[in-house]
Amino acid sequence: MMEVEETNFDELYEVYACMQCGKCTGSCAVSLRSDFNIRELMRIAILGNNEDVKEHEEIWDCTSCGICTVRCPRDLKPSEVIVGLRSILVEEGEVPSTIRDALESIGNNNNPWGRPKSKRADWMKDLDVEVKNLSEGDEAEYLLYIGCTASYDTRIQKVSRAAVHVLTKLGVDFGVLGEEEPCCGSEARMMGESGLFEMLVEDNMNLFKDFGISKIITLSPHAYNTFTTDYKDYKKRLEEEGIEIPNLELDVKHYTQFLAELIEEGRLTSDMMNEFNKTVVYHDPCYLGKRNNIFKPPRKVLSIIPGINLVEFERREDRSLCCEGAGGRMWSEGTGTGERNAVIRVRDANTLNAEIITVACPFCLSTLEDGRSTAGYEESMEVKDIFEILDEVLK
């Protein structure tokens, strides 16, 4: 039987309950374009020979979108089994060098991008408004958690600045952590480095406690997902090992949920916005949609923008086509060939005559924007975060 940190695979993932029906493979967003076969990998987990895992380099193709877990008729979690199989490879050092570098960078620099910690607050340089910094003694009701990619990626830094503009205009009492902001660890866990993830959970919970943070608004669905689910699981796990984790009830919201609540409360209304006469299609990010069933809040926010022509993909909500940005795929191309899902997505948007594909996730923004250029729609289509649209329309 395979084990992850001395716990066997059946205890962790109930792999013996798998009946090999293949619904997971039939649903998978990457088996469209690679040899990745989740049913076969479940079989390998059942048979339990570590050597078999090493022969499947396509294990790194998984984007961790989670559709297999959504659809499994036995309520198993194939997408989590992938994390377990990757853990075996990490423990044995059988990791692609680009993944190794990203993990090493999380350990050394607290971000997977190989960028120094001292430059994490660079996105704030061009800001024209004052922002509270909760690591420097400022106090605020909410922490706006930016995340690694939106801190360092020069394109996505614009989303971070748009977020600050919008929340400031709406009178939200919030602050950031600047250079002290840590990596949430979501991608480290997905790449199979559970030891590193445990360390981040411990460090980050202590850091939140030290800076008096309990309410968090995240830019990224990945940070949202890991703070609300993985942190709880790992807290329990760590406490069983005798490691004390602060008893902090974190109230975490993805920003689209937070904005939808402001609409409910009448604090965000159409009257506050200029006309926006564009055809816009919303792409559901997997970590918001499939993994957390958050479908309505982003649509609610978009729908109150005056003049907007909101259209929908045929494959939407829990059927949304994964953009292939997560599960470590920013640091590994995978074995797939042929057109990327992001390109397919952009073509779908084009048939809807969409002028803008809007997203609520930094990875989706990155992959779809790339797909737009590859497909040759640079002139006719934009890819924007919802925060960017709001920043544009808010008076």
């Binding site: 680009t98 990203a102 991008w113 190989g114 360092y152 990626d153 920013m330 640091w331 990155s366």
Partner: protein
């Protein structure tokens, strides 16, 4: 007093390090004796003897690419001829054989040496602390010293011709070596290019527009003495193979010069090349993020710049 030079060869060809070792030996102004052992090595002796006073040839099928066999043969020859110094390359083969011989015969050894001189005793220089310090060592008194030399430190161009004699001796190896077997050679993939090792990278992106324009860039790369690399879309289009891709999901490169042609500079690409000593970018969009990491930039269509650059470099190079 004689200096032994262990001759390395593989699949019927002499290795460059053998000539470098001969060059190192000649600097000691003593009798240079090359030791050429292996199976069917007779033809190679003619090429070696040009630079040695004597070549001792041991032709024995039992040696057959087995370092254990080479070691035992060398042990016996040293015992018989008593050379003052034995020189071989600090190669995987030399690293295997030299310490074994030193242990077998109880001789002092100096490894990975960059300079050898005679200053009363034999003096060797080794590069330590990642090349920051050169340390001189005198070897303590002994009948024979074993020395391995770093590749590329002794120039084969400085060899003087000696045209000595070839001496065939019977193999001292009495029986097959059974504790170690030679299995076979595995050749690296043919045509494989390692862009991480290049000093000059000429890199193309989407701005190149058409696959038919790739040869233009290839020509420029060739004339600059550089290697062709690219951004991700070029691999997606199938215009260049995956091994040429620079970026967080491709290769991280640190060339002396990175010429970015029609690459906008997406974060994932920049993260894979910002360690380059010098970045020169050509892009028609003045707002392209690549210009924020480039030391020099040209705002223009790459398809105009590439031929002009090729032409200019041709002129300079004559």
């Amino acid at each position: 007093m004689a200096v032994f030079v262990f001759i390395e060869h593989r699949e019927g060809k002499l290795m460059d390090i053998s000539f470098e070792a001969l060059s190192a030996a000649q600097k000691l102004n003593d009798e240079v004796i090359a030791v050429l052992s292996g199976e069917n090595v007779g033809d190679l002796a003619e090429k070696v003897v040009k630079y040695a006073d004597k070549v001792i040839v041991v032709d024995d099928p039992k040696i057959d690419t087995n370092n254990e066999a080479y070691t035992r043969v060398l042990d016996e020859l040293i015992k018989k001829e008593m050379p003052k110094v034995v020189i071989m390359g600090h190669t995987s083969m030399g690293m295997d054989i030299a310490p074994a011989v030193a242990i077998d015969l109880g001789l002092p050894i100096a490894t990975d040496v960059v300079k050898i001189s005679k200053d009363g005793n034999i003096k060797v220089t080794r590069s330590i602390h990642n090349g920051k310090v050169l340390a001189d060592y005198y070897l303590k008194d002994a009948e024979t010293y074993i020395i391995t030399i770093r590749t590329g430190e002794f120039s084969a161009e400085e060899l003087s011709e000696k045209n000595g004699k070839i001496e065939r001796v019977d193999s001292p190896l009495k029986e097959e070596i059974t504790n170690k077997k030679f299995v076979g050679f595995v050749q690296p993939e043919v045509g494989g290019v390692d862009i991480t090792q290049a000093d000059i990278l000429v890199s193309v992106g989407r701005g190149i527009k058409d696959k038919e324009n790739i040869p233009l860039v290839e020509e420029l790369a060739k004339i600059m003495g550089g290697v062709l690399s690219c951004s991700r879309p070029i691999v997606d289009y199938g215009w260049l193979p995956k091994e040429r891709q620079v970026g967080t999901s491709g290769k991280t490169v640190k060339p002396k010069l990175y010429l970015a042609l029609g690459i906008s500079g997406a974060f994932q690409h920049v993260a894979g090349m910002k360690g380059a000593n010098m970045i020169v970018a050509v892009n028609k969009d003045p707002k392209a993020p690549i210009f924020s990491v480039a030391q020099y930039g040209i705002v223009d269509d790459v398809l105009k710049v590439i031929p002009a650059l090729t032409q200019k470099i041709k002129e300079i190079k004559g």
